[in-house]
């Protein structure tokens, strides 16, 4: 790759990445369109444009491999768009292969590696598809079309005309008078309205105009509606609509070979069905149009968020000064400062919200990638899968989205491989042949929930427990005492896989434990629900953002700690007398339900505060997903917005903390990792005291 500044390189990679994602999305839409029997020319056009832009970009940045692939892909897409080759599943397979190849090439370029990426096979495939291109015989001659009009059709327009005729659309001519001053807008407007009825294929000036300020165009339109409907919808004083009659079938085919004549290809037709010239102008235009948005490194946003955090500390200081002034009898000055304080507070809040909003991206980003994976795996394992996505617009912190794609991918692989039965098996139990995987996302308070649901055979609990016993993870008597939920949770144990063979997509026994660890790192939890024969549903609960959170400040021992409010359901007074011991674990009863307790000071071996025993204490109920844990603390300070900073690498082995935050007055407070604590205490694992702290 050519020598470039780091910034330009970054820009190039993120732009290329974006285009490839767009392409992938287009192909997926095409895939479902084909399955539904719909032909949507705009999708192929978009794919073509994406590849075309990528080719231009590759040229600008001297990325030869990217350019070579784009060039070949562009040819195939051009053939597709012009109807020279038919869009079949096999063609789509190759196109999806190209998307994978793009991703690999991009990674290699990023790493500055020259490794052989083995794209030759793909090139051969592309070549093979391209060779299948045929020139069509034209059924166009069946219509009494003006030869003058036909002669100037571009190849693309001719293809659209043919395609519409093939779909049994009726053709209409709209003779329209346009005011030269407003033609752009009016024409756009007409095209927009025409979309409801069909498609405007081309337009051509008639050369007859009533005055110097007007122009008359003939619009060729295909529609499934009848003349009366069109007149009702598009008709006006300056619009004359006529049906183009069908000729009696002629014995000889059309003699007119309309090849790529571009009388209409310039200037005025650009606004219409996009006419694509493979020249420099188009490339310049598409590169420019992409600069509407600004790409920002997420670290810069983190930095801004840090500043907001520090400003919040300044704000508290303001408040203190105001109080002090009031105390000293300077009422007027104090009131003035108080007003400034409130104003500052409000603006700071807006700024914080603004920055948070910028960090938010729709989950659709990762769902698109998953849709590609589903398609690929379903073809690999020969199971037909219907992927239903809801809530792709649900927004979540960019950092979380990045970390989500691997865990979700693994869950989906599991669902396809272990969950969905092979086609025949499904039919036998009366299920539709195609398995359904639903990917649902929605917001719930301060959390985003993501569900991965399949309508497969469900988790076989007896096999699961057998496997766990054979691996020595639990004893037979333990297995018998386990509740259904506890048994289901076995899938999260390391090394457990219910599939005997490891030859297929998942089933290697690495997986759900790693998925669970990754989700907990994001401050989330995962719950599993499964019904034999009906299906499995995994639910991930995640915080919306990691950048700034509302937290409850508490005291435990001598420590001031923060617990993210998103994982706190309530706080109640603690009564020592209400504690019961069940199987060595302390619990209390809260509104008829058993709540396991955790004494933070004991768990963390905290130094106790001087008179902690005499004082009233509290239970903070931490809840995530379906699990609850009561944390016994010494004091509640109240709620505060905090910026969580991760602990350094040297403390990465320390469990139970999500990071630390500044408390004002220069002090730092640790932030509890509620998900981790719930996990640790409920799983009954003794805290691994990494290095036993000596008494001194």
């Amino acid at each position: 790759m050519a020598e470039l500044s780091d910034k330009a390189r970054e820009e190039f990679f993120s732009e290329a990445q974006e285009i490839i994602e767009t392409l992938s999305r287009n192909l997926l839409s095409l895939d479902s369109a084909i399955k539904a029997g719909i032909s949507d020319p705009s999708l192929i056009n978009e794919a073509f444009r994406a590849v075309h832009t990528l080719k231009g970009l590759a040229g600008l940045f001297g990325a030869a491999r990217l350019g070579a692939l784009s060039h070949r892909l562009e040819d195939v897409l051009d053939d597709l768009r012009l109807g020279r080759i038919e869009l079949a599943q096999e063609v789509l397979d190759v196109l999806f292969g190209a998307v994978e190849a793009y991703t690999r090439i991009l990674q290699a370029e990023k790493a500055d590696s020259d490794e052989d990426l083995d794209v030759e096979q793909l090139f051969v495939e592309l070549e093979r598809i391209g060779a299948g291109a045929t020139e069509h015989e034209s059924p166009v001659a069946d219509y009494e079309l003006d030869p003058g009009l036909l002669a100037v059709l571009t190849e693309y327009e001719e293809h659209r005309l043919r395609a519409n005729i093939a779909l049994q659309m009726q053709l209409y001519r709209l003779r329209v008078q346009f005011d030269l001053a407003t033609i752009d807008k009016v024409l756009e407007d007409m095209k927009e309205r025409a979309k409801r009825h069909g498609e405007i294929i081309t337009y051509l000036p008639t050369g007859e105009a009533t005055s110097a300020d007007t122009i008359e165009l003939d619009l060729l339109m295909a529609s499934r509606d009848d003349l009366a409907t069109l007149i009702g919808s598009l008709g006006a004083d300056h619009v004359v609509i006529e049906e183009i009659p069908r000729r009696a079938r002629r014995s000889h085919p059309a003699t007119m070979p309309p090849r790529r004549l571009t009388a209409l290809g310039r200037g005025e037709s650009v606004g219409m069905q996009p006419e694509l010239e493979r020249g420099g102008l188009e490339q310049a235009a598409s590169l420019r149009s992409l600069t509407q948005t600004v790409r920002v490194d997420i670290r810069k946003l983190d930095h801004l968020m840090n500043i907001v955090g520090e400003l919040a500390i300044v704000r508290s200081a303001f408040g203190r000064v105001a109080e002090k002034l009031r105390g000293e009898g300077q009422r007027k000055l104090a009131a003035e400062l108080q007003r400034l304080h409130r104003n500052f507070d409000r603006r700071l809040g807006e700024m914080q919200d603004g920055i948070l909003e910028v960090r938010m991206v729709p989950l659709g980003q990762v769902f698109d990638r998953l849709a590609r994976v589903v398609r690929q795996i379903s073809r690999e394992v020969g199971k037909e899968i219907r992927l239903v996505i809801t809530g792709a617009e649900t927004e979540i912190d960019k950092l979380i989205v990045e970390e989500l794609s691997d865990p979700l991918m693994h869950m989906i692989r599991n669902a396809i491989d272990h969950g969905i039965e092979p086609g025949q098996g499904r039919v036998e139990v009366g299920k539709p042949l195609a398995g359904t995987i639903a990917l649902n996302a929605f917001q719930k308070g301060n959390h985003v929930m993501i569900e991965v649901e399949d309508d497969g055979r469900g988790i076989d609990l007896s096999r699961l427990t057998e496997k766990a016993i054979s691996l020595g993870k639990l004893s037979r008597s333990e297995a018998q005492e386990m509740s259904r939920d506890e048994a289901l949770a076995l899938i999260f144990l390391p090394g457990l896989s219910t599939r005997e063979s490891a030859d297929d997509v998942s089933g290697r026994g690495v997986g759900m434990d790693i998925v669970k660890t990754n989700i907990s790192k994001l401050g989330g939890v995962i719950d599993v629900h499964s019904e034999t024969g009906i299906g499995t549903k995994m639910t991930i609960t995640l915080p919306i953002t990691l950048a700034i959170v509302s937290a409850l400040l508490i005291q435990a021992g001598k420590h001031t700690l923060a617990i993210p409010l998103s994982s706190v359901s309530e706080a109640i007074a603690f009564e020592e007398a209400a504690v019961r011991l069940v199987d060595g674990r302390e619990v209390i009863t809260l509104r008829g339900q058993t709540l396991p307790l955790c004494r933070l000071d004991r768990l963390m071996a905290l130094e106790s505060a001087p008179h902690s025993t005499s004082r009233r204490r509290f239970v903070v109920v931490a809840a995530l997903g379906q699990r609850r844990l009561g944390l016994v603390v010494d004091f509640l300070y109240g709620q505060e917005d905090i910026v969580i900073k991760p602990l350094g690498k040297s403390l990465s082995a320390v469990r139970g903390f999500a990071g630390a935050t500044e408390l004002g007055d220069q002090r730092v407070g640790l932030v509890l990792d509620a998900a981790g604590l719930i996990e640790e205490v409920l799983a009954g694992i003794e805290a691994p005291r990494t290095l036993e702290r000596a008494s001194g």
Partner: protein
Amino acid sequence: MANLTQSTASRLARRIGDRGPVREFLMFALAGELYGVELTRIKEILSPPPITMVPRAPRNVVGVCSVRGLLVTVLDLRRTLNLEERPLTRRGRILLGAAESGEVIGLLVDEVRHVVRLAANEIEPAASALGGDVSEFVLGIGRPAGEFLILLDLPSVVSG
């Protein structure tokens, strides 16, 4: 351990060769001995801000503190070097340096003295000065004007 020592010695020898004969060390006191770390390894010297103890952390970690918004893990050099522990006096300071991972780490020391310039012939490599079983933290012994200075390799101290 012998291997480690040799590599430390050769590392030291190499550094001396690379960087010319005279190097600057920051001299500080710890449990009654004088130590030195190469000046270029130190980002900053701080009066200790309030330090928050981290439960479950490794033994040599005192806690975390905030240095102008940056979260810094503070190590007690006495614990790292297995010296007798004692509460800080008002002369106590924190030296900020970078670990091999790039993480900024604070090192708690009793008192910072001054900077000394040591020529190559004033430094005894650890292996020849102390023989076999020497901690990999020790680069060598410096002898400026009759003093005895234990030279530490800051990156390995803060990474260990």
